[in-house]
């Protein structure tokens, strides 16, 4: 056993003690200053790529969401979700509403989660709405009725604040 090895636990202990000294609990006033000041800014780029193994759709199928209403034998599906959906600078914040809104703000006087909407971009995004007898599209006896296919490409302008709060 070397000296270094023997001393290591000691160093660790001292280190831990030093660190502990730095971890001072914040008082309530400081906590208020820290919490939720600027909110969060979210940027995302979601891409759904086709899976060539699924030959049901031309060029491979995209993502599939199947919902089964209670006691139903089949599924409502959003099928073949493909393309890219992206946005930049979607802001999430906690705000206090206590004024504005034609006098309703003062009466409301509470906090709400605010989502600041922003421009969104679609790149060859598409999905198909339909109903099907199976959750997955790759099993025997599969049947599906496609109602419609929606496809979009380009930038849409979306502006506004969406507020969420606990309803009475």
């Amino acid at each position: 056993m070397t000296i270094a090895k023997a001393l290591l636990p000691l160093f660790l202990l001292v280190g831990a003690a030093l660190a502990q000294a730095e971890l001072r609990p914040l008082d309530e006033g400081e906590l208020q200053d820290v919490t939720g000041q600027d909110g969060i800014s979210l940027s995302a780029n979601l891409t759904f790529a086709p899976n060539p193994a699924l030959t049901r759709c031309a060029g491979g199928c995209g993502a599939r969401v199947a919902i089964k209403p209670g006691h139903s034998d089949g599924f409502i599906v959003v099928d073949n979700i493909l393309g890219t959906f992206s946005f930049e600078g979607l802001k999430l914040d906690i705000v206090t509403i206590d004024s504005g809104f034609a006098g309703e703000g003062a009466q409301f006087n509470g906090q709400a989660l605010r989502l600041e909407l922003t421009e969104a971009r679609f790149e060859n995004a598409r999905f198909t709405l339909g109903s099907s007898n199976q959750a997955r599209g790759d099993q025997a006896g599969f049947r599906q009725t496609d109602l419609l296919t929606y496809s979009t490409n380009g930038e849409v302008r979306l502006h506004g604040n969406l507020y969420f709060f606990a309803a009475p």
Binding site: E28, L31, Q32, T35, G36, K68, P69, G70, H71, S72, D73, G74, F75, I76, I94, I97, F101, A102, E104, G105, Q107, F108, G110, Q111, A112, L113, L117, E119, F122, T128, S131, S132, N133, Q134, R143, Q144, T145, D146, L147, L148, T149, Y150, S151, T152, N153, G154, E155, V156, R157, L158, H159, G160, N161, L162, Y163, F164, F165, A166, A167, P168
Partner: protein, 518 residues
Amino acid sequence: MRAAMIAGLALLALAGAGQAMEALDDRELGEISGAGVGFFLDNFYYDQGSATARVTGLKDTQGNPLAIDFERAYIKGEGSQRGTLDTEASLGSPLHPFTLGVVSGAKAPTLPAGGQALQLHTPTWTDPLNDTHQYGLWSYYQGCLYGEAGCTDPQKAVNNIDVELNKLQSQRDQLLARYQSVGFLTLKSGIDQDMQVVYQRQAQVATETSDVQSAYGTMQTRYAAAPSTADLFYPKPAFGEKYGCGNICINSAARAYNQSVDAYQQQVSELAAAQKSLAEAWNTERDGYTLNQRATDYDEFSNLCGTPTQQQPSCAAGRVKKTQDNRSVLVIVATSLQNGGTRVKGLDIGIEATFTLPSTAYSGAASGATKGATSTRTDFFSINLEGFSLHGAYLNLWGDSSGLVGETSLQMYADKLIIGGCRNCSDANRAVAKNLYFDINLGHGTLQPLSLGVLSDGELRLSLPGVTWANHEAFYQQVPKSNISIGNLNIGGVDLGSQVVRGMRVDYLDVRTVSLPR
């Protein structure tokens, strides 16, 4: 309890409160869970901008594919000049938010006893200008769009309903005067008494009708069996006429046929006599009026004022009362507007789309048209809504033994709906509906839940169960009706006036998709 504390801490952290972080006790947590979520949108607008959007997968009746390209779509605030300005909209407000939560009892009174439902409720106001029921009713009678040139007097609606009410009241007064000396209970008992004879004679007519049918059947059978010539000299007559040998035909089949013609004619004259005596029963006079007149009058009075319960009835129900109630709603709305009251601003929503579909040219006469080449045709279509609101609408969803079921009430109001088929034209070439009010109610929690499911073959199914004998009384009393009204409809510059469909109710509905071969 540890999980509860974490949840409590998380909630406090989310709320950003600077208070001491106390764990919530079970009771407090119990109060939190189950509360719904409220939300609203402020300073909002949506514009399709430079993006392209397309709907495909639809087919025309010939099975040819159809594509819809959305050139433009927007949701903006009222006054956006059909989307050209980025007017900001508010959907709800802090005190009038959309709510999503689990409800029961008074908040969803039609649910089966003890049931709970997931409810999405749009912002709801109770003041007369923002309550869609009240404002929608007023706007129908007003006819024109309030605030436009020539439509600045909100009393116009009240004047219009007064004309309607006066007409109903004068009908009522006429009937009251006609039977004042008789009394309505005496009138009813007189009708009931005279109706006994009518019922007897109706039964007689029914019997005679069936006798005629049976005699006709016999005549047909015997005609088929009758010879082409009877007793050497008499050729077979036309159906319904007799052989010339009459009752002394030697040929038994011919004789039997001749007898059946006589029997048939006898039955026909008996039926005519029964019908005549039935008509006489309807003409029985009492108190100076025929039974037919009295029964019609009594039904009309019941319609106007409700079923009479005394000799000189008051008018506590029926159409007169309903119109009076509507009138008081109109007065409240008109007064609020006169006092400078305003509505919460609605939305401007619009789409402009082109339909691309195959088109086949035909030439020649309609009977023998020659099919020409099929080319692709593109049609333009636009819908714009101005001042649209959905206040006071809700959707309740829950699950029962039959699956996902629900009930919904849609309260849609729009100042204007403009439907166009031309890209560069004015409203004079479009269909413009003003003061549009849709009060659409589908489903009833206990009596007629709207059920949504997917069948085992993958087909979508939407159904409303039919009314049954067991529940028909409650059904027609409780299942809500739907109403659609338009203050004024103008197509291509021609005013068609107000349009209304009242009291629609779906007795039975079963919608299924069918996958057609590709």
